[in-house]
């Protein structure tokens, strides 16, 4: 089969849509149930519906910005729309945000393992192992990583569906109802959790310097968003519906707690190892994706000839950053829910709107 010579180091929009899902998969399981239950109580399961319009608009902006840009990279598109100086400034702000996000993800990956499975092991061990694996994977390039995401995402969704089949019958109606009109404001506040999970859209377009098949980008993103949205609603229904909003709000890993209750025909139990496998896969992929985006941004901003030269030293820096990002898990959780999700929602939703608005005014799109 003759390979398209221009296809080297190009990811397709379908692969990027898969990466869109997998990047938010781990924070969805880790953070969203307790956040939604804490803010909106029993109405937390319905909070994603308040986020539908912003998500739809975001996909529309991506479609309008990227569908007609053909062979231009995402950075070239941003510079075209905003101008060279403003575009570089915006990309630099994204670099800061993504490095913070990466440090959080690396630290939370280690913290979650020591708080659930390996309580007697130092978090630095898991951080070092994760960074070594990531540095090895990054050398294979964006196309290989995109293909890995294309392969892993259906597996993760299948595992999630398998677990959901056994959990959905245990949902109690009194734990998720009633939802009154005075729940609207708490639901709106809780919807920021869902918006946070969908805020990685623009990052995904920075994974690969070139993207193939940009014309159908809108349709593919809508399908991916629908799948992801359904997963989020089911996750919230299960977590709040089974545990109740009070327990779900206080628990550090509500999804793991409810999975521990699964018993198949009174013989097969303790399938929480499936959830841990899902965590490890999705955490690793999101760390890899954020790392490659960071290195791509650095390559563009600082005119590097090859970002692979910086992989080792970059991960030394990220090791220290992940340790210094917070003292403990509590501090991370408070910072995340009080500040960082709103910062991420700004970058994820306000920036694409800004690009669209400026692009329209300057007649670039």
């Amino acid at each position: 089969m003759q390979q398209n010579p221009g296809a080297k180091d190009k990811a397709s929009t379908r692969q990027l849509a898969m990466l869109y899902i997998i990047t938010g998969f781990s924070p969805a399981i880790r953070f969203l149930p307790s956040f939604a239950a804490k803010v909106a109580k029993e109405a937390g399961w319905a909070s994603p519906f308040m986020a539908v319009i912003p998500i739809g608009l975001n996909i529309f902006f991506f479609h309008r910005i990227f569908s007609k840009t053909k062979d231009k990279s995402t950075f070239e598109v941003i510079n075209d729309i905003l101008g060279k100086f403003a575009g570089s400034f915006v990309i630099f702000l994204h670099l800061i945000w993504i490095m913070l996000l990466l440090a959080f993800n690396i630290r939370l990956h280690g913290e979650r393992l020591i708080s659930t499975v390996f309580p007697n092991i130092n978090v630095t061990f898991f951080i070092v192992v994760t960074l070594i694996v990531t540095s090895v994977v990054l050398r294979s390039g964006a196309t290989a990583i995109a293909r890995m995401g294309e392969f892993l995402t259906p597996i993760l969704l299948l595992l999630f569906t398998f677990v959901s089949v056994f959990l959905l019958p245990n949902i109690r109606a009194d734990a998720i109802l009633p939802v009154y009109f005075n729940d609207i404001i708490p639901m709106f506040k809780a919807s920021f959790g869902t918006l946070y999970l969908f805020s990685f859209g623009l990052l995904i377009f920075m994974v690969s310097p070139q993207i193939a098949n940009k014309k159908g980008i809108g349709k593919i993103l809508v399908k991916a968003a629908l799948v992801y949205f359904t997963m989020i609603v089911v996750l919230l229904l299960m977590s709040i519906g089974i545990l109740g909003s009070f327990v779900a709000a206080k628990a550090s890993n509500p999804f793991l707690i409810i999975v521990k209750q699964i018993s198949i025909l009174d013989t097969i139990e303790n399938i929480e190892s499936l959830v841990i496998a899902m965590w490890l896969l999705s955490d690793s992929m999101s760390i890899i994706i954020l790392s490659i985006v960071t290195l791509n941004i650095m390559k563009h901003l600082f005119k590097l000839s090859d970002q692979k030269n910086l992989i080792n030293i970059f991960f030394v820096f990220m090791y220290i950053a992940s340790l210094g990002i917070a003292q403990n898990r509590l501090e991370i959780d408070v910072f995340n829910s009080a500040i960082f999700i709103y910062v991420s929602v700004f970058f994820g939703f306000a920036m694409p709107f800004l690009l669209y608005a400026v692009g329209k005014i300057r007649r670039k799109i």
Partner: protein, 65 residues
Amino acid sequence: MLQLIVIILIIGFIDLRAMIKNKQKNDIVCFLIIALGSILYGYYYTNNVYTASLSGFFLRLLQIQ
């Protein structure tokens, strides 16, 4: 701290050699900046383990408990 500097020197020896050979100036400058940043931040973190926390800094700044 000493282990960090040794690791950076080893990485520098491996990666910088290739960059100097290929005369990749921007890459070398970027590498040195990241290495220096790592050493400085590592030194600050090592000496302030219980207070050096970016999240804690922002939470105190915004007076969030």
